[in-house]
Symmetry: C2
Subunit: 338 residues, 2 copies
């Protein structure tokens, strides 16, 4: 692609997210209201800390998927908004605990909650939001919805522990890595979409299609995130890069570089990742090696494969603005990596 064409594709993709947001605008406003109400507590630290994260300008991609999935299925009730709030609470709780586990000091360009309030408060407010998310599910009253979302929560935690167990293991293969990201990231995307179909009382094939859309989209999303952590362009934009590298986290761009590397390069990866001995210039060298082997491009190609499947998952549904926006949002997920 020429630069001009690439830029145009990127603009179109970015506007896809805006279009999707516009299509569920009223539902999202009510969901945001619910999120605000349900994070209140007589303990002031809870809304203070939770609000810091919830208001930090995230795109609300996961709850928007619940809203969009329900509407795509022709649902015209109100249950999807409670469930969208529930999905956002699970996500926020996960972010709080992730930042403690990763010892992160930044999140979306601001100081992370654990940096401001400490690890203790982040762990406990995360627990509170998890519990609140279950209260929201219970108040929905559907055992099918409860089964889907509680299983997703357990899968997320299982994926996080799995990642922790193999974090700096250069022997991990692409299959293992996919299993980790399917659990820790994509399971919530899948559940978020599936419950939208469930409240709309869709047949099993339609529920499965939306679940699969979410799963494929979630995997693509995480693959692109993992590529962006090494993207020079991100660095030019002033965004933090190299977090995964510093944590010694073996993601696909690194895993492929290790596999494709020569003996000298493997010795480099073993020092900086397996033994965690890093010094100045190592991140730059890592990025050079990745560049040489084209592993960021390869990672984005893998992501495109999942996006293609996600788009086909939606073919069962009638052609409409909402379906088109959901297709375009899938493209947007990969485009932000280019």
């Amino acid at each position: 692609m020429s630069n001009v064409v690439a830029l145009k594709a990127k603009e179109q993709a970015a506007s896809a997210m805006d279009r999707l947001l516009t299509l569920v605008k009223d539902d999202l406003a009510q969901t945001n209201q619910l999120i605000f109400e349900r994070m209140q507590s007589h303990v002031p630290l809870i809304p203070e800390l939770a609000g810091y994260l919830v208001n930090a300008g995230g795109k609300r991609l996961r709850p928007v998927l619940t809203l969009a999935a329900a509407r795509l299925c022709g649902y015209d009730g109100a249950r999807h908004m409670g469930l969208a709030a529930c999905v956002e609470f699970i996500h926020t709780a996960t972010l709080l605990h992730d930042d403690v586990v990763d010892e992160s000091s930044m999140r979306r360009g601001e100081a992370s909650a654990n940096e401001v309030w400490g690890n203790q408060a982040s762990v406990l407010v995360g627990d509170f939001l998890f519990s609140r998310s279950f209260e929201l599910m219970v108040s929905d009253g559907s055992l099918e919805v409860l089964r889907i979302l509680s299983a997703a929560s357990a899968t997320i935690a299982e994926g996080e522990v799995h990642q922790l167990s193999v974090i700096s293991d250069l022997g991990v293969n692409e299959q293992d890595y996919l299993q980790v990201i399917a659990a820790k990231t994509a399971a919530l995307f899948a559940a978020a979409c599936e419950v939208g179909a469930v409240v709309a009382e869709q047949p099993a094939a339609h529920q499965a299609a939306l679940r699969s859309y979410g799963m494929n989209l979630g995997i693509a999303f995480q693959l692109v995130d993992d590529a962006l952590d090494y993207a020079a362009k991100q660095a030019e934009l002033g965004k933090t890069i190299g977090d995964d590298f510093r944590e010694g986290k073996v993601t696909l761009p690194l895993l492929l570089a290790y596999r494709r590397g020569d003996e000298q390069e493997r010795a480099f990866w073993e020092r900086v990742i397996a033994r965690g001995e890093q010094s100045d210039g190592d991140l730059e060298q890592a990025m050079e090696i990745m560049q040489r082997h084209g592993t960021l491009e390869a990672t984005l190609e893998r992501a495109q494969h999942y996006v293609n499947m996600a788009k086909d998952d939606l073919a069962l549904f009638p052609d409409c603005d909402l379906r088109q926006a959901m297709v375009d949002v899938a493209d947007f997920c990969v485009q932000r990596g280019h």
Copy 2:
């Protein structure tokens, strides 16, 4: 009481726990089997870490309460065992996160899980057990049970954040302190008992009675725990004391000592708790001041008050071995403090 009489009362109370365990022996064996099965995962670190805690010789007091409450209500099905496992999972998840928050290195005389596997694994395996507990609730299928247990989880987390917010605040009064321990400890005792009545389909008054028994017992249990943390006799038995003191945690024995103290003593508490400036001999001095003002005895008296209410809560139920054992277990909770 003479020493001989006191000793006899203590022996009787201790054997109450054994008697209660004997009365629910078969149910407990099946519950333990369920706990073992449901903590399995394809990620080996999960059963390894969870099993370390689950097998660490806790008395399973909370799940035993669920089993006993259901049987006291004449229940002869199997649902109470799944819910007992669920209650134990919530409790274990809480312990894992508590030890991270309190930076504890010991639990029940052994190295704590965070000491062995690190904070990261403890946070994430805690999340997994929380999620598993919700899956267990969902598989029970009763929305009433789900409502009770999910509300208890949120209340526990809220109580923990509340405690964190006021941890070293000497201005906290007894009412605030009771609110914290009712949430962080007694809410799970109450829910554990209540769900036993719910599966047995008891009338509202009986459900409320068992809920109240659990709440009162849980408050008494925590009061005694807080007293034991300063008990010289515990120190003689080689048990760790002074954990709350070192963490600057304002519990009832300390709160009363501050209230009853003179100016010099208050200056001491302000230095060691509010400012956290502790040195050798401070714990001994704290215990001396508490001894002088009789605050451990006062704390145990408060506990006895809740135990008395807990015993009266059971009066609605027919007189039987199980009811007697539940009454005696309430006494046991306070006796272990003498």
